[in-house]
């Protein structure tokens, strides 16, 4: 049986990996050279505080999802939607160097893969937010989470030319 909590745990793992990656850049003071930051002059100038804020936000969402806090799923979905244009910009303004924002295993191969992956994350996060269920790590939750992660990882593997979705500058 599909468990909405298991799916939320999968999204929590993605946000935890995202936070880890960002905190690592903050610790090394290398935020300005991150693929998602280097493409924007404003972000590059404020790379450290922006990345730190984003890492804190991701951490809060990951914890909220694990704890089953009401609204954490929908907030995660909203944040993912907000991150999507930044991810797309990484592809269009850069050389397609992927942002490993949700972990290397879900690193998108093309803009279409990024949109597909993020759409699945939004659906997964929203599903947990809408469906009321038991917040327990049952076998069903583990399998649901694993399947959700596998689907997200596979969506990120789609290789289509950049021009398919957005023009290359």
């Amino acid at each position: 049986m599909v468990s909405s909590y298991g799916v939320e745990l999968a999204v929590a793992l993605l946000f935890a990996l995202s936070a880890l990656e960002k905190f690592s850049h903050v610790a090394h003071r290398s935020a300005a050279w991150h693929p998602a930051v280097i493409t924007s002059g404003w972000l590059r100038r404020h790379g450290q505080p922006a990345m730190c804020a984003s890492a804190v936000l991701d951490s809060v969402l990951a914890i909220g999802l694990v704890r089953g806090t009401p609204g954490a799923g929908l907030a995660s979905a909203l944040v993912t939607v907000m991150y999507t244009p930044i991810g797309l910009r990484t592809f269009t303004a850069g050389d397609g160097a992927p942002c490993r924002c949700f972990g290397a295993f879900a690193s998108p191969r093309s803009p279409l893969a990024l949109v597909g992956r993020n759409t699945l994350v939004v659906i997964a996060a929203s599903a947990g937010g809408v469906a009321a269920g038991e917040n327990a790590l049952t076998p069903g939750a583990a399998v649901s989470g694993a399947l959700a992660l596998a689907a997200i990882a596979l969506a990120a593997r789609v290789r289509l030319p950049m021009r398919t979705l957005v023009p290359v500058r």
Partner: protein
């Protein structure tokens, strides 16, 4: 094959993808065997850079009769981002050790070039020819080249300040 069997195979496939993905994610956080990489890749220590490589460096305005540290980077490499951030800080503090450090960027994007210029980093754009000639297999790859193009040291390391200290010693 029943529906249950199909679902079980689907779950097994999903878990397999997940395990492989997490394995890859873990590998990124583990320290790579840099000594092995250094011994296998790059130009031989004590030998001159290949004449074709010296010609390319010369054609890009880099005099080959002086000591120089070449830092091979690619845009999506996390260690390279950390290394360039450190290089930027050394330049900002007018550290004399970085005067003869040149970044060799593999197919850099416009955003990357702008960022390098703004940071005041000396760089060379490379389409892969120089990388191929010098057998660069891992990044960030640092090569200390002495006068007459003799390779003195090499390392796969993001700690550029340590490398420059050792080179000066």
């Amino acid at each position: 094959m029943t529906v249950i069997d199909s679902v079980q195979w689907l779950v097994i496939a999903g878990l397999a993808v997940l395990v492989l993905g997490l394995y890859r994610q873990l590998a990124i956080f583990l320290t790579p065997p840099t000594r092995t990489l250094e011994s296998m890749a790059g130009p031989e220590i004590g030998e001159r850079l290949p004449s074709e490589a010296r010609q390319i460096l010369s054609s890009k305005g880099m005099p080959t009769d002086r000591e120089v540290t070449l830092a091979f980077v690619s845009e999506s490499c996390r260690g390279c981002q950390v290394m360039i951030a450190k290089l930027t800080r050394l330049i900002a503090s007018s550290d004399p050790r970085v005067t003869d450090t040149v970044v060799v960027a593999l197919n850099p994007s416009g955003a990357m070039l702008r960022a390098l210029e703004e940071a005041g980093i000396q760089y060379i754009e490379d389409d892969g020819e120089l990388w191929g000639l010098l057998d660069v297999q891992a990044t960030p790859f640092l090569v200390d080249v002495g006068r007459k193009g003799i390779v003195r040291r090499k390392a796969v390391d993001h700690r550029v300040e340590h490398f420059l200290d050792s080179a000066a010693a």
